[in-house]
Amino acid sequence: MNRDLVSSTPPQRFPRILQRFLRIRTGFLCLMLTLVLTPLMTSHQAAAQQKDEKETPPDPFVVQSIERRARGEWDLLIQECDQVLQAEPTKGAAFVFKGIALNGKGDHDGAIAQFAKVFEQTGRDPITIQNRADAYTNRSTSYYKKGEYLKAIDSAYFALLEKGNHAEAHNNRGVAYLARRQFDKAITSFDRAIGANPKYAAAYSNRGFAYGAKGNFDQVIADQNKALELDPNLAVAYQRRAAAIIAKADTKSDPQKDLDQALTLDPNFTEALCDRALLYSMKGELPRAKADLDLALKIDPNCAKAHLQRGRAYLSQKNYDEAIASFDKAITSKNNDPGAYTSRGYAHQGKRDHEKAIQDFTKAVELDPRLDAAFKGRSESYKKTNKPKEERADLAKLKELHPPPPPKTAAKKPEELPARFMVASKGVAPGKRPEALRSAKEIDRLVGLNYAKYNVTPNPKTSDAQFLRRVYLDITGTVPTYQQTQKFLAATEPDRRTRLIDELLASDGYASHFFNYWADVLRYTDNLNNSVRGEPYRQWIKQSLAENKPWDKLVSEIMTAEGLVWNNPAVGYFQRDANMPLDNMNNTVRIFLGTRIGCAQCHDHPTEHWTQREFYQMAAFTFGTVTSTGGHDTRYWQKNPNDRLHEEYAEIEQEEEDRRQNSYRFDRLMGINMMIVNDQTDRKIRLPKDYKYTDAKPEDLIEPKTVIGFPAEIRTGETPRQAFARWLTSKQNPRFALTIANRLWKQALGTGQIEPVDDILDKSAPENPELMTFLESEIKRLDFDMKEYLRIVFNTEVYQREACAVEVPLGEPYHYPGPNLRRMTAEQAWDSFLTLAVVDPDEYREMPAKMRTEVVGLDLNTISAKKMLDAEFKSAEIDGIQGKRQAKYVYKGTLLARASELPSPVPANHFLRMFGQSDRELISASATVGSVPQVLFMFNGPITHMLLEKNSTIYNNVMRKKSTADRVKVIFLTILNREPDNAELELAKQEVAKSDLAGYGNLIWSLVNTREFLFIQ
C-alpha cells in the first residue's frame, strides 16, 4: 500500500509536508489505529433472541448488568455480581459480568481469573454453553488489552468451539489478527462476524479497516458507509472514512467533515484529533494542527500517534532537537514502532549524528525488514560515514524492494518447468547377436517338434508391416509413428528385423511398456500405504528395467531392502503389503515362483500338497520384517524423537486452531520418517488360535522352512529374510527361473508354456516340456538378462509368424502356429492413440521423486519441530509444482502422457480403466475384454476428437501430402502401419470425393475404430 501512495500524485494544493509524511511510511495503519472491541452479548440476551427458548424469562440480573455495563458503572456491577454469587455461588453469568467489569477497570488478570471459574462448569445445556462462550470471548478482550494477541485469538477460537455463530468472538478474533498484521485472516473473521450478525456495525467498520491495511481504500469507505447506516453514532467509522479519503488523496470528498463529526460524537477521540491535525497541516493551517495535537496530548499524554506527528512536524521544520524529543516520547508510549525509529533516525541524520541515525534505522529494519524508508536513510548515513560496502548492501536491498518494472518490449522468458524423471536406458550387447540367433533357431527347432507331433501347420511369416507393428507394441507399448513405419518399410537389409529388435530394446519405450506390465503384477500404487508414497519405488522399477538389471538381482534387492523408501526405493515392495506379512508371503510366492499357496493361509490346500503349517513355515522367513519403527528404536540414539518433537511442537508459537490442524500433519510427517523397513529378530510367527490339524497345536511357534525345492540355510549373522532372498533367486530354485522364462515367453507369444503363469501346479505340464526346459536354461545361462532373453524370443521364426486366426478350444493346449492374436492392453491402446495424436507423446515425464523426498526426508535425531512443520508446509507446495507441468499437457481435462507416467491407479472413468487397466488392488488384474463404454470412448472420446483437430500428429502428416492417394496412404501407414490395398484405396477415394477434407477425418475416425487397429496381429 505504501508504494501505491508514493506513486499516486498528490494534488497540488496539499503542501509538500504530506508528500514527506507519506514517504516516511505514514501508512494507512499510522493514520488510524483505533479498533473497536465491541460490547458483548451475554447469555440471556442471546437466549431471549431464540424464539424456541421463549419459556425461559429474561434473567433480571442479566438485564440490569447489561445496563450497568453500557454506562460503565464497573464498581456497582462488581458489587452486584458479588451479591448474586453469595446467594448462588455457581451462577456463570455473574462471573462473566464481574470479569467484564474488571476488564473495564483495566484489571485484566483479575478478569481472566473470573472467566476461569466459568470454564469449570462443563454442562452442555444452552445457558452454560453460552456462558462459556461469552467468558472465552471476553477473555480474548483481556488478552488483547494485555498485548497477548495470540492468546486473544485462541480464546476467541475456544468461544467459537462452544458456539460457532458467536459474532463477537469472530470480531474479537479478527481484531487480534489485525494486531498481528494478518489481514486476510482478519477479513475472514469479520466476514463471519457479519454472517452471524448482519447488523453488526462494528464488524463492518473493522473489516473496512483491514481492507485499508491491504490498500483497498474504496472498500474501507464502503464498509464504513455500511457501518454508519447500521449505527450512525459510530464515531470510529467517521474517522476511518476520513482516513481513507486522505489516504486515497481523494480531492472530491472532504475528510474534514467526517473528522468533525467523529469528534462531535466523541470529543476525547485522540485518533481523530491526530488525523485532523494532519489534515490541517496539509492545508497549511499549522496553528490549528498544533491545537489538535495539544488537545490530544492533553487527553492522553501517552498518545504515541500525537507525539509522532508532532515530531514529524518539527522534523519538517528542521527543528531536530524538538523532533527527537517527540519521537523519544512516541517510542516510550508505544514500543517497537518501526516508523518512530525511522523518523528519529532522520532527525539524527539532520543533526549529522550518523551513528545514532544508523542505530535507529537498524532497529527499524529489524522490526520491519521491508521498510524501504529506513534502508534509504541508513544508506545515506553509511555514505556520509564512508562505509561503501554497507551502503551498497542497503542500496541493493532497496532495489530488491522496488524492482524495476520488466521492459515491456523484451521477449517473455518462458516459465521454467520443474524437472522430469528420465530413465537411462541400456541396450543389448551387439557381440551377443550370433548366440542369440543360435538360441532362436533352437527354440524354432523345439517348437517344430510339436508341430510334427500334433500335426500343426505353422502360419506364414509376417509381412514386414505386420512384424513392425507387433514388435513396436511388444517392446515399446505403442504403434510406430508414420516416420518410423516409412523408415522400416523402406529398409532392404536382410537383418533389418534383428536390428530393429536391438534398437527397440535399447529405447526408453522398453522401460515404459514393461513398467506397465510389472505395475500390474506388483499392484503398484502411488500411495503404497497410508504413510508411504510410491514414486521413489516406481522410478526405481523403471530405471531397473531401463538399465536391464538382471531379474535375480532386481528381486533380491526387493526382498532384502531395508530402510526408508527414499534411501532404498526397493522397500516399496514390502511397504505395499505393510502390516500384512502373511498376504505378503502369499504374493511373493505367486509373483516370483508362479505358485499359489494362499489357500493354505487358512487351511490345508484343497488340491495341492501345501499344508497350513507349511504356509506358516514359509511366512516365518519374512514375519520379522516390519515396515515401520517406533520412537524407542535404537537408531534414535538421542531422545525418543516422538517425545522430543511433541514437546517442541507444544512450544511453537502458533494459533490453537492451527496447532490442532497442523498436529495431524506434523505427526504424519514424523510417521512417514519412521516408515523404515527393518527386521525384528524377536518377532516370531505362531500358528493361528483356530489351528485344527494334528501335526501341531494352536499358537505353536513356527520356525522358517522352505517347502519348495532345496532348504534355505540361514547363515550366522543373516536375517531369515536374507536367507529367503538367496533361496528365492537361486538358479537352483525349481520355480524362479521357470516363472520368469514363462512370463516373458507369454509377453511375446500371448500364451504361456504353462498357464496361468502364476498358478503353476505340481501336475502342470508345459505345452512343450523340452522347450520350457530350454527356455529356463537360457534365462539361467544369461544370468537373468531379460533383454537378451527377449531378444532371442523376438528373433524366433515362431514369433515372426502371422498371428493365429483360428479358435483354440478352451483348455486345449496352444501349439504356437504363430503368436496368439491379442487385443492391445489398455496401456498399448492409450499409448498408441497418443502416438497418433500428440506431436511428442514422450515429452511429458513424471517429476523426479527426490523433489518431494528431499523435502519430507528428515533426520529425526536432529530436526527441530519448527523445521519439521516448515517441511510439511513445503511438501504441500510440491503438488503445485507438479501441477504446473501437468497443466501444459492437459487436453480437455486429460493429461496427455504415456500410461507409465500417469497416476496409479487412475480414476475409474479414465480411458485406461475403461479399457481394462487394473485398479492395482490385486495381482495381474488387468483385462482386455470389450465393453460398451470403451466403444463410446472410441467413437466420441476426447482423444478421438483430438485426432481430427488441426496440429494433431496425423493431421500434420496428412496435410503435408498433396494427392488424395498419398494422403490416404499416410492415414493407413499412421494408424494401421500398412499401405491400403486397392479396394481400400478406392473406398477411401470415394469418401474423399464425397466429403472433401472432412472425408479424411471420416477415414481417420473409421480406421481407429477397426478391430484391426485394436488387435495385435
Binding site: G164, G811, D919, V929, L936, A998, L1007
Partner: protein, 427 residues
Amino acid sequence: MKTLFSKLGPIDRRQFVEYAAKSMLGVSMLPALEQVVTAQTATGGKAKRLIYLFMNGAMTHLDTFDLKPGHVNQGDTKPINTSVAGAQISQFLPNLASQFDKLAVIRSMHTQTADHEAGEYLMRTSYEEIATERHPSLGPWLQQLQGRQNKTLPDTVLISAPARHPGAGFFDPSFSPLPIGDPNRGLENTTAPQYLTDDSFEKRITLINGFDKKFREKFKVKKVQSYTDFYAEATSLLTSGELKAFDLNNEKNEDRDRYGRDSFGQGCLLARRLIENNVRCVEVTCGGWDMHSNIYNGGALPARADIMDRAVGNLLKDLAERGLLEETLVVLTTEFGRSPAINYNAGRDHHPAVFSSLLAGGGIKGGQFYGTSDAAGHSVATDGVEPADFNATIATALGLQRDKIVFSPTGRPFKVAHDGNPIAKLL
C-alpha cells in the same frame, strides 16, 4: 454356467474355474443374457431391482434414525412424529417421516472397523478386504446369479462412487458396473461432434466395416467377434432412445429442483430414470457425512440431512406413484455410525458399535423399526445386525440364492452375502 457347475465334482470344478479364468479373455457377455433364473426362496424375492444409497463418511445415527431424546448425548437434534403412530425420527428428515410407513429402519447395525475404507468395503461386499482377493459388490452379484437383464444398458450403474469401489470384484470384467461421475453429465462420450450429422455417423460405421472386412474375415475368433458385438450394442445405444435414460435434461426443472440440485439429489433422480428403463442396480453415493466438528452450529448436519431427506423422500414418492416401489428395493446404508458423545469440537467421531440403516420397497415390510441400541446410543441392545446379515436381507428380497457358491479364479468359494442371516421380520 450355472447348470454346468452343478454337474461338476470338486476337482473338475477347480479345472473348470481355471478354464473360466482363461476364457475371461474375449468371452462375450452376451450368452449370459438368456439365463434368467427364477429361483426364489420361501420369503422375499419380490424385488427385481435395487437402488443402493451409500452415505459416505459414516452417517450419524443419533441425528437421523435413532434419536435419544432427553439423553445428554442427543445434542441439538429434536425428534418429530412420523406417519406411523409412536415412531419418531429426526426433525431434519420431514420427507422421510411422512413416508415412514414405507420404511424399515434397522437401529442395531454393528461392525468391527472404524476405518472408512475397510467399513465401506465390508458393507458393499460382506467380506473383509484382503490383499489377495477382490470381492464383488451387490450389482454384479445380481448379474452373476440371475443373468444379464438389459440388452443395451448395463446392469449396474454407479453414480458418484469412490474410485476404490469394489465393482465386479473377481467376476468377469464384463460384469463391471458403469461409473457415472457427475449425474448432470450422464453417460459420457455419447455426444458426437456437432459437425457430424446422423447421416454421416452411419456413413462412418459403413466405412469401419468396409476397411475392417479383410481383418474380420481372417480372424473369425470370439474375441474379435465380441468386439463387433459391442460396436453393434454401442451403435444401437447411441441411436436408440434408451440413451435418454442418462440425460437429466429430459426432466422438468421443477422435478430436478424437487430432488435437490446437489449431486446426490440429481443422482437419485438419475437412479429413478435408469430403474424405469430397466437397469437392474443403481448405486448412488452421498459424501460429506464425516463430520467431526461443529455439526449443529456449523450447519453441516442439517444441510447434509436435508440433502438426503429431499432426494430419498422424492425418490420413494416417485417410485410409489409409478408403481415401481413394490419391485424396487431401496437401501440406504453407511460404513458405520458416529460416536454418541459429542466431542470437544462439537462433532461426533467414528463409531462402529451401533448404527442405523434403512430398507424400503421391494416387498420389505415398512413402518417399523428393527433392533435397538442402548439408552446412550452406544451399543446394540437387541437384535444385532452385521453387514453380512444386512446384505443377506437384501439378497433374499431380491430372490437371490444365498447358499449358491461361486468360485473366484483363485479357486476360493464365495457367496452373495457371505454367511449372513436375513432378517425374517422385515421380509
